[in-house]
């Protein structure tokens, strides 16, 4: 039975823990380092993001092994499908399914969640923000640092999700924490495809959008106009498929949580 990551485990021990979620621990690591001679024309070692799906004690071991393996496989397949279809996602750098490790391209930048501080924050996002600055100013500063306006950002979001749906990839967990603005190129990068799957169904695409809509409204207050910009860019990129998806989205909104089914 695998999930005894002796080699990958040693690699992890020499990496820096970046964050930990319920599903996986995420590290910054370096895979390939030249140690001899030769011209250093690439400007130093390139970091990767290691996603380690650790063993879950609350699961039966054999179920845990097969679930971890299929999650990694699903994530890798979704990523490669997106790459081939021109969606901005991290490239894959190493896969060790037996040990529960996936290495992807390190994206230097900030998540959208970080760029749009919400109301009451309970995680460490707020700690990064200087206390002296007004929250409104902070937000503007973060974005102007990137030289990207909120509207343009929302357009990028809509565009990327549309490209993804055109490839029949459903993200499964669209939130502002899973979107990053890459430093330098200003690309909007979609990350964390751990719950992604392939589907041609209009229902699945509509639900994917609805999840984002709810994520926006719950983490970032007064964000309805933002989401409309997202939908607008999505509509433009989708073309013909939009009619069906847009209609379905309305249906999905009606049956969401805490919705009255009266009338």
């Amino acid at each position: 039975m695998s999930l005894k990551p002796s080699t990958s485990r040693t690699l992890l021990e020499n990496s820096t823990l970046v964050s930990q979620g319920a599903e996986a621990k995420v590290y910054k690591a370096y895979l390939h380092q030249a140690s001899v001679s030769g011209t250093d024309d690439d400007g130093g070692p390139v970091p990767v993001l290691l996603k380690y799906r650790f063993q879950k004690q609350y699961r039966h071991p054999s179920l845990d092994t097969s679930l971890t393996r299929s999650r990694i496989a699903g994530e890798a397949r979704a990523l490669i499908k997106c790459l081939r279809s021109g969606v901005n996602v991290p490239g894959i750098r190493m896969v060790d399914a037996a040990s529960g490790v996936l290495a992807i391209e390190w994206i230097e930048g900030k998540s959208l969640r970080h760029l749009f501080p919400g109301g009451a924050e309970d995680d460490d996002v707020s700690e990064d923000i200087a206390e002296s600055a007004d929250e409104e100013d902070e937000e503007e500063d973060l974005l102007t640092g990137f030289y990207v306006s909120r509207d343009l950002l929302m357009t990028k979001v809509g565009n990327e999700i549309a490209k993804m749906h055109l490839a029949d990839v459903i993200h499964g967990d669209l939130t502002t924490s899973n979107m990053m603005l890459r430093q330098g190129s200003k690309d909007l990068v979609l990350i964390d495809f751990g719950l992604a799957y392939m589907s041609t169904l209009v229902e699945d695409k509509a639900v994917d959008l609805y999840v984002l809509e709810r994520a926006f409204s719950s983490t970032h207050p007064d964000s309805e106009p933002l989401f409309s910009s997202v939908l607008e860019a999505y509509r433009v990129k989708m073309g013909k498929q939009w009619t069906a998806i847009g209609k379905r989205l309305d249906d999905v909104r009606l049956r969401g949580r805490k919705r009255s089914m009266v009338g």
Partner: protein, 198 residues
Amino acid sequence: MEIYRYPHFPTHLSVVHVALFTNVSNSAALRSRIVKAATLAAPEGDIEREAINYAFIDARLITSMLHLQTAIYQAILFDSQKSLRTRTVHSEILWCLNPTNNISEAIRRYGVSDTSSALFVVRITSPDLVDVESGMKCVVEGNIVPQNTLQELTDWSSIKKYYKLNVEPAVKEAAGDDVRERAIIDNIVVSSVAMKSV
């Protein structure tokens, strides 16, 4: 020649020597030597196999050093987990480079052919082995060049063909802008090699 170290792997797989040879003049002879060595019986067979115990990779089909490093890493990983699909870790690199599961196709496409003029020669070994470069020079007749020469050697249209990239939106969208197109192709190819096992 470059040396990459992976101390987290078992010692006999922890050091990788890579040299890029151009103006290779003995590819046909080298290829028949490899084929013959596979069939020779011990003990002379073992000596001969050890003399050519390297991976010989056609440099035309490599998009970047990262591409090659990714295939090498995955091959070492499979060997360390005792899940090699081919006979040695060196032949496994060729399997990793090929998009399909067909081993002979992998060797035919990515290995040394009668007309190869540029070859990557790779040796995966322990830190004890010294003088790897001279061992390589005994086997391959050509010049060792810096690895950034790779940029001039890559055959992008063959790569697009083997990976069926000509129909992909990502590639079609970047048509006309060579630099961007190649970066996209490199990313797809590296990612495909990395995730081939799943």
